[in-house]
Amino acid sequence: MKNHLHTLKGAVVLALGLAAASATAQAGGEQYFPLQSYRVGPYAAGGTGFFGGFIDYLQYVNIKEGGVNGVKLSWSECETEYVVEKGVECYERLKKGLNGAPAAATNPLSVGIAYATLERSTADKLPLITINHGRTDSTDGSVFPYVFPLQLNPYSEVSAIINYIGQKSGGLAKLKGKKIAVLYHGSPYGKETNPILELLSKKYGFQLVSLEVPHPGNEQQSQWLTIRQQKPDWVILRGWGVMNPVALKTAQKTGYPADHIIGNIWSNSEEDAAPAGAAAKGFISITTHPSGTQFPVLQGIKKTVLDAGKGNLADAKRFGTVYYNLGVVNGILNVEAVRLAQAKFGKKPLTGEQVRWGFEHLHFDDKRLKEVGALGLLQPLQLSCADHEGGGAVRFQQWDGQQWKVISPWVQADRKLLRPIIEDSSHKYAKEKGITPRDCSKES
């Protein structure tokens, strides 16, 4: 009996050991994405859309291609509620990977969390992806090797808006004498582009009226009455959350036309325009990616993931919206970085340091965009050691009362003008922190 018990005990231990080993081996054969997501709280609408799109794309790659070169993609979520301290806690909890699968990169979609984890990411050699947001000077990869403000940094954003207003006015020279107001969120995010707008106003000779809206922005009567008094030709809306629909409603209330308000990248979703109802009709905003479901990659996700009942969105109607598509675009960029890094380091799960190399060598031309089914969804871009943004172009879209319609081709930011300002700032940062910038001419 004792022997039987021993045998049974041994078998159980062996079985458990095998199971554990197999789970580790299986997980160890995966590439892990730690997700500092936010699905509750005031910013949940953005979080659920973005992380829904990101996860659905990872699922799509797993189902359609069996992962990246056979390496399955895995992920787990940690709820930040968009709170910085929770974001840092989540970073620390997830950065080491999951069951042996190494972490590829972090994607917090929060300026505050990105700032708070920037130095940690660099120390941990884990790429920090701040698609369409983040520190502008992190574009300079020689100083910020692990930070990637992919597609669009805040300076490029306002530069492209001024270029568009110039186009609408008949050329940048015609901006002289015009009046442009900027209505910005009362936060470091909102204020970040003010010096660039001042620079551009001096360069092109337009008058700049800057108006701050205190957080959260649910009262804007005085700002819009000032706008009515000042009569600007255009208003740039640099908003966030509730500030955006309130701006549109108050503009209507004070008689300012919506089709002369241009929203920035965080004023460009359905959640920003729809709650304003009729007041939003005609509102223009920038976008790095159109909404819509017509792109082959989205059709593929629909067929493979959503129709199979595996979609991440609680509300399937949000498929193809601005936040969802941003998540898909982010997924494409992350997966492509893994793919490129695998070509150099081998078809296996990679460390954050190796995936960083992949991000730095991202190159999407029309041919590659077509291959991944994202032509028209994602802009052509090429990153390098020195340039961690890669794109710097936006398109303009207009709210027709129900949905966004793209109304312009790609409008490029004046990146030549911005680059020295970015480098000034990044070198100042390097000096403060005692960082020796990399020599990008020697990087391969």
């Binding site: 709280g41 205190p214 649910n218 005085s222 959640e271 949000r318």
Partner: protein
């Protein structure tokens, strides 16, 4: 001069919206001495319930009635599960309980109706209206009229009905009210339900202005200086406090803001409230506490 008048009138009308939220606080404070920090979450819960029902195809009036019933149910649950067990506890305990409740109510609202942002159209056009050379908002005028009607109804309830008499008795002295046979628990449920109605009206008007989203609960931050200035125990005080806060913050933002690099309207009302705390701690219409020492 007309610009000044527009800013002033716009501020006064915005102030009425703040008063709407503040009235909910006053009702509960008067009847139970509880500063209900969960009032903002109740506004959110009511508005989110209403708009979610409306979006599911229910008619306006039915959505309103069901939302109102849900607020009554919430009041019942609060009384049974929380307040009843905290009778005779220090005010800070009750305050902390409502602080916790605000998170619970928000969480339940999100679990029930999701985190999506909703537009709310009450059918009132919000185009500018030209009156005597001044541009005013139709919606704000409607909101002011709604607040006025609500105050009138509440005044009638408090002053002309038996229930109102009981509520006033409870507000004056809970022990004496119990001694003459008034059922304290029932009164608490009633007053929380009335605060729920006020929350629903405030939620609809604020929701139509901001969209129904989770930051709706942050409007309590606008009600706090209103209460300090008007007094915690007076509905009339909440109205006057709201008008003072609305007008002063708008004028300050327009005329002082440029000198102080802008964005001052969030903290300016609190400067006023601090001055009131120093000079008139009970507010303009609040009851002064007199204690035998």
């Amino acid at each position: 001069m007309s610009f000044f008048m527009e800013v002033l009138l716009g501020g006064l009308l915005a102030g009425v919206m703040y008063s709407l939220v503040a009235i909910g606080f006053v009702l509960i404070y008067k009847a139970s001495g509880v500063f209900n920090f969960a009032q903002g979450s109740m506004v959110l819960f009511a508005a989110l319930t209403f708009v979610s029902l409306l979006e599911r195809g229910l008619p306006f009036w039915l959505s309103f009635v069901i939302s109102l019933l849900s607020m009554l149910l919430l009041a019942l649950l609060l009384e049974r599960l929380v307040l009843r067990h905290l009778v005779n506890r220090p005010p800070i305990t009750l305050f902390m309980a409502t602080l916790g409740l605000s998170y619970v109510v928000e969480g339940v609202a999100q679990a029930l109706w999701g985190a999506q942002v909703h537009g709310l159209d009450l059918g009132i056009e919000d185009t500018p209206l030209e009156l005597g050379g001044l541009m005013l908002s139709r919606f704000d005028l409607f909101a002011a009229a709604s607040a006025g009607l609500l105050v009138l109804l509440l005044s009638l309830l408090f002053n002309k009905t038996r229930i109102g008499l009981s509520l006033r008795a409870v507000a004056d002295d809970q022990l004496a009210a119990l001694a003459v046979g008034i059922r304290l628990q029932r009164m608490w449920v009633l007053v929380w339900a009335v605060a729920g109605l006020v929350g629903l009206v405030a939620g609809l008007l604020w929701g139509a202005r901001l969209g129904v989203q989770f930051s709706l609960s942050l409007i309590v931050l606008k009600a706090l200086p209103v209460l300090i200035i008007g007094g915690f125990t007076s509905i009339g005080g909440a109205i006057v406090g709201g008008l003072i806060v609305g007008a002063s913050e708008k004028l300050a933002e327009v005329y002082l803001g440029p000198l102080l690099s802008g964005g001052i309207e969030n903290w300016f009302p609190y400067v006023l409230a601090l001055l009131f705390l120093l000079l008139r701690p009970a507010g303009l219409f609040g009851e002064r506490a007199i204690e035998r020492v």
